[in-house]
Subunit: 343 residues, 4 copies
Amino acid sequence: MIVVMGPNSTKNDAEKVLSHIETKVGLKAHMIAGEAQNVIGVIGQIYPELQNELELMPGVGEVIRVSKPYKLAGRDFHPDDSVIKVGDVSIGGNEMVVMAGPCAVEDRQQILDTARIAKASGARILRGGAFKPRSSPYSFRGLGEEGLRLLSEARDETGLPIITEVMNSNDVELVERHADILQIGARNVQNFNLLDVVGQIRKPVLLKRGFSTSYEEWLLSAEYIIAGGNHQVILCERGIRTFETYTRNTLDLEAIPVIKKLSHLPIVVDPSHATGRWDLVTPMALAAVAAGAHGLLIEVHPNPDKALSDGPQSLNFDNFQRLMEGVRGIAGAVGRTVAPGQG
Amino acid sequence: MIVVMGPNSTKNDAEKVLSHIETKVGLKAHMIAGEAQNVIGVIGQIYPELQNELELMPGVGEVIRVSKPYKLAGRDFHPDDSVIKVGDVSIGGNEMVVMAGPCAVEDRQQILDTARIAKASGARILRGGAFKPRSSPYSFRGLGEEGLRLLSEARDETGLPIITEVMNSNDVELVERHADILQIGARNVQNFNLLDVVGQIRKPVLLKRGFSTSYEEWLLSAEYIIAGGNHQVILCERGIRTFETYTRNTLDLEAIPVIKKLSHLPIVVDPSHATGRWDLVTPMALAAVAAGAHGLLIEVHPNPDKALSDGPQSLNFDNFQRLMEGVRGIAGAVGRTVAPGQG
Amino acid sequence: MIVVMGPNSTKNDAEKVLSHIETKVGLKAHMIAGEAQNVIGVIGQIYPELQNELELMPGVGEVIRVSKPYKLAGRDFHPDDSVIKVGDVSIGGNEMVVMAGPCAVEDRQQILDTARIAKASGARILRGGAFKPRSSPYSFRGLGEEGLRLLSEARDETGLPIITEVMNSNDVELVERHADILQIGARNVQNFNLLDVVGQIRKPVLLKRGFSTSYEEWLLSAEYIIAGGNHQVILCERGIRTFETYTRNTLDLEAIPVIKKLSHLPIVVDPSHATGRWDLVTPMALAAVAAGAHGLLIEVHPNPDKALSDGPQSLNFDNFQRLMEGVRGIAGAVGRTVAPGQG
Amino acid sequence: MIVVMGPNSTKNDAEKVLSHIETKVGLKAHMIAGEAQNVIGVIGQIYPELQNELELMPGVGEVIRVSKPYKLAGRDFHPDDSVIKVGDVSIGGNEMVVMAGPCAVEDRQQILDTARIAKASGARILRGGAFKPRSSPYSFRGLGEEGLRLLSEARDETGLPIITEVMNSNDVELVERHADILQIGARNVQNFNLLDVVGQIRKPVLLKRGFSTSYEEWLLSAEYIIAGGNHQVILCERGIRTFETYTRNTLDLEAIPVIKKLSHLPIVVDPSHATGRWDLVTPMALAAVAAGAHGLLIEVHPNPDKALSDGPQSLNFDNFQRLMEGVRGIAGAVGRTVAPGQG
């Protein structure tokens, strides 16, 4: 940590800062006398509140944190990539893993048909919502436990592991019984209670970035889960909120190389929720693969114009198969593999 | 709802849209033939998914929602201001209500001292966090139930009703036992499960706007609570996330007149969290009063540079008293009252 | 400037950084050996490109600029407020100065009527656009030189100094002949050629903040003008672009206390352009005065629903008079003066 | 255009709107009586100010524009892609065109070396700045006319057409004499005077999106140029400003499929300025190609750590050659061609 004294601060101000730091166990301070400004370096076991304490002292201009506030999620002390195993699927390695399925599970036929097509096209994981976050209380909120049972049935038939969202700490036990990967949605990225609870389980968690979550905050939310004991965290970029309103969100693909630099955790991309329009999903999926994503989350629906939730962003089966062909081409060009379709 | 057909759509496309609408119970469609484009007006009981369905039909250019998606929180069907009573305090009427206290309850002395000063200066409600949302898992997260007990003791002594945050639906019963107003924080504005649960209680709820929540989403979140049966919702603007990083957030004071136009609910402002710097709190508090806020949430701490949470944004007692004098002046200038200090 | 070496950097990396700095004339480097990371302080005449050079060196984690990049616009070396004189009006002192008039000058009657009402209500400066920036090439772009002549006539009759926008360096000479204050619009805040040219003149310049200009960039743009020799710069906050679309822009009133802290230049607020809606102008104007603005820019039009430009955000004469009464009340409450109306 | 009357509006309000519209030459109005709200459709030659006029009339809730405000830049009346020819290079067709070179021309050796490498690697156009926009007045602002002469020399030697920025309408004639494509930078996207002037020339113009320019505003700026008579406009996405500060800007690759849908103009991407970090340039360049960009603008420098401008975002020759290999792979996978290197 570095304390920059203001240009009009006195020698006495700087000395008070020095002595404040040195009264703390495990901290040392070094002073650099500049021509215009003095700078104090702080070394040792810095606790989160220290920055605030120092910023308030007379004469202090700025306090700059140097080391990153996330240790377990960061790459500094964990240089190798984390690879998360779900059945025979590995996320975070050389295979580009496609997770596909409907936004919401609606009925038995819908989820089974989609699961079969997903598998036949090369998807490796089946997605589907049983609990749906909806901004209006009057919208369809999902089938709940019945949806989880239908997903399990689709897994039993196809062998595809399933990922589904958990919105609330009380449902974690129930969702964990059915799901292979638990998804934390964008609106819950800083629901710290939920993060604590999924930190206690032993199944992988896919943590979506919030609409306006910085990289650092996102990694701190991952840190909550890992600090709880669950190291199997997958990050998912799904678009951020900007001034542009033509699309639902702006997909931030810079997140892929940045997160790979800052963290050892796998990063996947959800172009369906980011764009909110099915005709933008394929170009953004291909772009994500080219940029190095470890996986994709894609909404597929047998009949998007009858979907109970987010129909406009879902691909029908034909368009999904075309997307998979495109993904295969790009993955090949960047030296990554994609599972073959299993008709 | 209005459906604008694309410029290259056919007559047949428009007829399919018409017939899709007219098969639905309770809906009627009217066609306006334009020179360049056709437009279809939809009248009746529109369900949330209809927009999506129509947007996907061939030839459709745009689907525009005309009526607001929130009914209970909106002013259209509730033209008079809601006034929320907490003990002998009314929020939403002519009195400008100040809620003051520390970010986090730290110990008995701290909360009692602050409560006394708050009351002596004219604050009407005591704030204080027992459960603290923190972006890092390593930061102080509040005293929990012990904090609630200390708040209750401060209320018993001073007579000030208390407001405190509830972060999680499992804690609602506990917090409700102690608090007079339950606060939902910015990060939980779309924690729909928590909104559902506080919709079941019969105490007022203060709902903070999220960092990147639009006015419409915010009112829809209020709609969740009211739809559950709890009509006592107070809205709180606390700054939004923008590109500017010098301050923690950008306080959006346009929210005050806009929310008053769109909704009958009271709106208060939290300049402490918005700015993140104590030296900006007073000017922003005065501005909020001038713009018509029904109340203020202000962080006060006996010793801000020792605070365990958000010290840099807390006022010390002297500065709080000066803020109250300023608030009194502005409130008078706009024809509002502020409670006198009760030494 | 401070160079933070990465956690995996070598001693050799740090030595190369040290020697790179010490080869430069006027620079010195100091090393602080930390437990986890080394930090190098740089002292002396830092040139703008040094940060880039250092960031690219092997092992460097971060380079942090400590001193502010604007010297002439900043308060560090100019602690007293600048007060800009225009005729007998002082901007930046204790008087809250209202500048009022139509968005665009449309005809003789319109500008003369508005000027008289402005003066009668206590406005001190007449605003009006002769050259109008318009996002569509098909919109009314202003009367040009004829508009300037009409403004001059209105000044001759009422004695009010005039402010008007200059969009382009070729027009500076022409606009300077007529105007008392030249306005640089939000879209031109980084039109560096225009900034250079108005730096050569000797009349005050009102520099609007751009839609997405940070405080630092804004002050750097002011620095361009002052570095050219023109010290008479007035800053004007006019709303920033955020995710919220209900209003045209989000008025950032935190800019008032922040700019007063960072800079000695006067700061005024334009609530008309920020909100884009006349019914939000008065609450935001009052808020700006409460927060400490040195002045206001207000759109007034004799007949807003016939205005050729930005009618929806203009006040009619009655509403403007009410605004002035409100402003007078708030200004009084914060110890500021407003000129009396001069019927 | 559609006028939605407010829920509390009267029949008389609606009739006044109808009659206001019908007094205008070339406009017709149709009324749809809804159960809750009345809606009025407006057909005919709508002028830009009509929306404002109607929004202000009593009882009007909302006025919705249906047709797009840009005609010449839009695809509705120009369904085929525009292909812009520069020498033997076509931009907007099947070839993915790479434009490469240094941020700023610094000296003869630098630009000639870079031009040779660019050509040898398969770049088709040489970029280089002679006039540089810089947020600080104290930074290097480019070599000016001397830079243009050096670029011309590099073209003469290599045969690569050149693109360079023009910041100011007075320089258009000079820049046009040397350049094959004139670039308008992000900060000038709404410098309407400059847009007017480059609308008069007969060389292609590359128009960068501003930091906070919406798709519609960007296309309206293109409309300025085309309305002036110059149809050769190339759009360039270069990142937008968001809340995320780790990277310089957030590259919005959704712009590629969206602009292709809304407009017939070619769209290229500048990952160097968007990211501000050389290590993010290649992944974002590959993503842009995968998403369908017609071209790329890439900063290359023989010695990035000595660059006078934007060194940290420039690739050295080795990294540029690797980027070109990657681009070739992705382009092949999506059925596009890239010119072979011409050593």
